[in-house]
Amino acid sequence: MTGPQEVDTAQIRARYPDVFERPAAARLATPAMIVAALGIFVYGLIDLDFSPSRLFSGLSQLGWISMMMIPPDPGSSLPIYLKAMGETLSIALLGTTLAALLALPVSLFAARNVVPSIILRFPVRRFLDSIRGVDTLIWALVWINVVGLGPFAGVLAIAVSDFGAFGKLFSEAIEGADQKQVEGIRSSGGSALHEIRFGLLPQVLPVIAGQVLYFIESNTRSATIIGIVGAGGIGLQLAEQIRVLEWQKVSFLILMILVAVAAIDFISGKLRFAIIGRRAVA
């Protein structure tokens, strides 16, 4: 047994210069980034009118509001709220389905293995990207101008904004599909349509179904808010009750939204597992 060995620090230092004598740029990079991030943060706080007095008065107001929210109470408007909730779920379901139906053919044009020509693919992709860059609420405002106030505008808004997202996701799923099946169909004399129908679709449909279910779930959340701009559903009721300061009704509506979202999450989680899980096993 020997004791701890004498360490020749100087020798180790000489052997590993990169560890002991890091260049100034590498040593300063992280602190510089942190300082820059904090600098922008402080500038933002000043520019956006954050003052401690506003924060405190606002927080005390918020405290009052939360006290007034208890207990949640729908008053006499429970039937109206339930109907609005149904409307919200309908908007989510219809909007997502419509978007999926529209996006499926378009996504084929955006997939590399179906359309090899970049001239055709590039504009389709950029088109889908710009649709995605615009928020659902903005689409809702546009559709309200076209078909008038009401849930129908909400359905169309969700359909359009999801169309962009689905187009991208579906085309990625198609690009990830195995080419061997497609080649098999081609070798037996199938046409391009046959290749898609029998070579691609059976591979991508389960993936797509999973994504659609997931979007129905997330669109339930989106559909709760598009009512705020007047496109129907529970958001309309919520915005109205907040404006007239009926806090008990507000908290009841928020609770309703939470319960509905949790329920949809649960159901679609089960369905997704049933669709994809079985595939993964087989």
Binding site: D49, G133, I138, S222, I228, I242
Partner: protein, 294 residues
């Protein structure tokens, strides 16, 4: 080249065929049943959402002509023939866009700080007490599920009109979303360093600082950047309820039918979102290697 294909005797083939047909039939029936349920749900939804196909057909022309109108200047020319006239308010709009970016930046950062403080209590492997974990998880869930704009509506009343409400709304929503993602990273972290540090008699705090943090910071930063991207979109509509940013200008332009302004502001928003997407994607790739670029 000839290949001999052995053909089964008739009865054996018939039995196999029958079994095959039965299996296919069962599958088809199940598919049909699923489709029928789905169709019924759609029909119900269509009634619930007051879908009126006649309105759509009557007004669908309006949708297309709406784009025609927003791409036309007051003088009747196409917008791109006179860019100066089209983007006449670019000073104001760029300032509002800057405000939008600041709202999402400050909101994301505040949200990330709170998520950072809370996530260790929500993670299965680092939470000191089970009841604490339950409480923190429900809290994060609440912050995540209530849409940001609903918080904004309430905060506008509590804190007054202006970007502050937007920042706080985004901060709360980001806390919920990031808290969950952060705690998932912590749950995936290797626990051996923690054991090593605990064996030296270190406190809970030291375990987190020296065993967990070095493993998770890169993941944290990556998710926070991703969240920033999402929040830019979210901040662009905060103005609809009076919580600051470009949304205010947009909603005024849409409601008052300033057609060419609508297209100008939309263009600016889309370009900004593109640029943010690309630059955060680049930054993530730069900071955390290629696999982080999703």
């Amino acid at each position: 080249m000839t290949v001999a294909v052995s053909i089964l005797p008739e009865q054996q083939l018939a039995a196999l065929n029958a079994a095959y047909n039965k299996a296919v039939l069962r599958k088809r029936l199940r598919l049909l049943l699923g489709a029928a349920i789905f169709a019924a749900a759609l029909l119900l939804a269509a009634i619930g959402a007051e879908v009126n196909l006649r309105t759509l057909f009557t007004y669908f022309g309006n949708f297309l002509s709406y784009f025609d109108r927003i791409l036309t200047l007051d003088s009747g020319q196409r917008v791109w023939t006179d860019v100066g006239e089209w983007l006449w308010g670019w000073r104001k709009w760029l300032k509002m866009l800057g405000e939008t970016l600041l709202i999402s930046y400050v909101g994301t950062l505040i949200g990330a700080i709170f998520a950072f403080a809370l996530n260790f209590f929500a993670a299965e492997n680092t939470s000191p007490r089970p009841w604490l974990r339950f409480v923190v998880r429900r809290l994060l869930e609440f912050a995540r599920t209530v849409p940001g704009i609903v918080f904004a509506l309430i905060f506008v009343i509590a804190f007054g009109l202006g970007p502050m409400a937007g920042v706080l709304a985004i901060a709360i929503h980001s806390t919920g979303a990031l808290g969950k993602l952060f705690s998932e990273i912590v749950e995936n972290a290797d626990m051996k360093p923690v054991e090593g540090i605990r064996s030296t008699g270190a406190s809970w705090l030291s375990c987190i600082r020296f065993a967990i943090l070095p493993q998770v910071t890169a993941g944290y930063a990556s998710y926070a950047l991703l969240r920033f991207e999402v929040n830019v979109r979210e901040a662009s509509v905060m103005g609809f309820v009076g919580a600051g940013g470009i949304g205010q200008e947009l909603v005024v332009a849409i409601r008052k039918f300033y057609y060419s302004d609508v297209s100008a502001i939309l263009l600016l928003i889309i370009v900004t979102v593109f640029m943010i997407d690309i630059s955060t994607g680049w930054l993530r790739g730069r900071l955390f290697g290629k696999e982080a670029r999703t």
